[in-house]
């Protein structure tokens, strides 16, 4: 049963076609990844799903309900959250405040419970809860961004390049956390440039190339597919 269903979604920026009618779906409880080179339209896809970008055509269905054109707030309320590209923590707020904002729409009662859960996943954040988020290292900021998303008690989390600009060891940490979250029943849609690590983690993957989906398959299938490498590094002359 798919929790998220994208049908024929297209997005235009001015005269530029950013997404050219892409369709894909995400099974409930799975980790699905959308990989592709820079500028392929990955971030646009996620931002459109969240209602931050206006779709020119097509639709997005979440748990059977059409969410295209809905307010971002409504979508968050329905349990679908996004960890944006480049972390985007609020640098002028403390770690704790960042986390609290994550559960902005939650009842105070749930807030405490979620906080406990996030601190359990990221003990580092508890150590630094009083610190301004802007002073954290890149890896810690990424943890905070993920933690902040989890504070909304989501059914599904979308992550935009969680490995961006992070050292390999930290990337490993982040991905093990992603698997752990998934183990707790949260569906994950992952966008990555870092194809190897994403495909190892994901149950299913799609390859996006300049606005269209060109390949799909299970993680292992795609890993063995030579065309994925071509999508990144180009054809050999």
């Amino acid at each position: 049963m798919s929790i998220l269903e994208i049908r024929d979604l297209s997005v235009h920026y001015g005269g530029i076609v950013a997404l050219d009618g892409i369709s894909f779906s995400v099974k409930e409880g799975a980790i699905v990844t959308l990989i592709g080179a820079n500028g392929a339209g990955k971030s646009t896809t996620l931002r459109t799903i969240m209602g931050l970008v206006h779709a020119a055509g097509g639709s997005v269905h979440y748990r059977g309900e059409k969410i295209t054109g809905l307010d971002t707030r409504k979508i968050v309320e329905m349990g679908l959250v996004l960890v944006p590209e480049g972390r985007r923590v609020f640098p002028n707020l403390t770690v704790l405040e960042n986390l609290k904002l994550g559960s902005y729409l939650q009842h105070t009662r749930h807030e405490a419970r979620n906080l406990e859960h996030v601190y359990d996943l990221f003990p580092r954040l508890l150590e630094r809860h009083w610190q301004l988020a802007g002073t954290l290292s890149g890896g810690e900021q990424q943890m905070l961004a993920v933690g902040r998303a989890l504070m909304a008690n989501p059914t599904m989390v979308m992550m935009d390049e969680p490995s961006l600009g992070l050292a390999p060891l930290v990337v490993k940490d982040i991905f093990s956390i992603i698997r752990r979250i998934n183990g707790e029943g949260v569906t994950v849609l992952l966008i990555e440039q870092n194809a190897n690590v994403a495909l190892h983690t994901a149950d299913y993957g799609y390859v996006l190339q300049t606005g269209s989906i060109t390949l799909k398959g299970t993680g292992t299938e795609l890993l063995e597919n030579e065309e994925v490498k071509v999508a990144y590094l180009g054809k050999t002359r």
């Binding site: 944006p84 609020f90 609290k100 904002l101 902005y104």
Partner: protein
């Protein structure tokens, strides 16, 4: 000049500065969130003066003050909804022009409704009571203004520092889009910002006009601009900065007037602005922002 006179002037300056600080907060909050110089803010302050005149004509003072505060706050929110919200995606120049347009409209509207002739500001008896300490004498409002300002600022800082709405305000001021991703209702937060700014302008208006005794449709222009300067001086977006800026400008202005340079007191304010923008554009307490190419 004797010590007493100097102290007397300082007291007046601190009082004026308190009123300025309250207005400056409105500029700093709105700029912090929308990156907009709300040119109409000084006129909101002026309108609050008229609201007080008319409400005090038919109600006892506590009710009149309450009415003034409420009506001004509502007006601030309404202005944002009508004149600024539709332009949020438009180029920055458009929204500034809209703000200037609102300022123009409020001035003309009040000229029409209340005429350009200065209206006497009613006396609220307890505010005008005179205190004497040694050779110093001051009306209650002179003493009350800085104290009330400090109290309001502390409340405001607590509100912004401790409450969920306050956190949301700080988040929105940094990053609209990510704030949306948290489920924050941007429009509501912007409205709250305008409400707080207008409320404080109304309080400032009562304190300021009680000391000055009359209101005209153009009473808000100059104080408005000066308070914007105060906000820039303290570091725009920074509340304590705006307060410090307000007090500083109030005191310097009073001293310049006392020294006989009254016409230069306005010039001083703007000179301060230009120098500040050139030397330290982020203001006294402003934070640096890195611009991306």
């Amino acid at each position: 000049m004797s010590m007493t006179t100097i102290l007397q002037h300082c007291l007046t300056g601190i009082s004026l500065g308190g009123a300025y600080a309250l207005i400056a907060i409105g500029y700093t909050l709105v700029y912090g969130i929308l990156r907009l110089i709300n040119f109409a803010h000084g006129d909101i302050f002026m309108m609050a003066g008229y609201f007080m005149i008319f409400s005090l004509a038919s109600f006892p003072w506590p009710a009149a003050i309450l009415i003034t505060l409420v009506v001004t706050t509502v007006m601030g929110i309404a202005i944002e909804r009508i004149a600024y919200k539709p332009l949020r995606e438009a180029p920055r120049m458009s929204i500034m022009i809209s703000a200037i347009g609102v300022s123009y409209l409020l001035q003309n509207l009040s000229t029409y409704l209340f005429t350009a002739i200065p209206r006497g500001y009613p006396e609220i008896p307890f505010l005008k009571r005179i205190f004497r300490v040694g050779d110093l004498s001051a009306s209650f409002v002179t003493v009350l203004t800085p104290l009330l300002t400090i109290v309001l600022v502390v409340i405001l800082m607590t509100l912004i520092g401790r409450t969920k709405t306050g956190m949301a305000m700080r988040a929105v001021s940094k990053d609209f889009e990510t704030a949306k991703l948290m489920g924050i209702n941007i429009n509501a937060i912007v409205s709250v910002t305008f409400a707080i700014g207008s409320f404080l302008a109304a309080v400032g208006s009562i304190l300021y006009f009680t000391d000055r005794m009359s209101v005209t449709p153009f009473s808000g222009t100059l104080p408005g601009l000066k308070c914007f300067v105060a906000a820039v001086f303290g570091g725009i977006g920074n509340i304590p900065g705006a307060v410090v800026g307000g007090f500083f400008i109030g005191i310097v202005e009073t001293l310049l007037v006392a020294l006989g340079y009254s016409t230069f007191s306005d010039a001083f304010t703007f000179l301060l602005l230009i120098v500040m923008l050139l030397v330290k554009p982020t203001g006294l307490f402003g934070e640096k922002s890195v611009e991306k190419v």
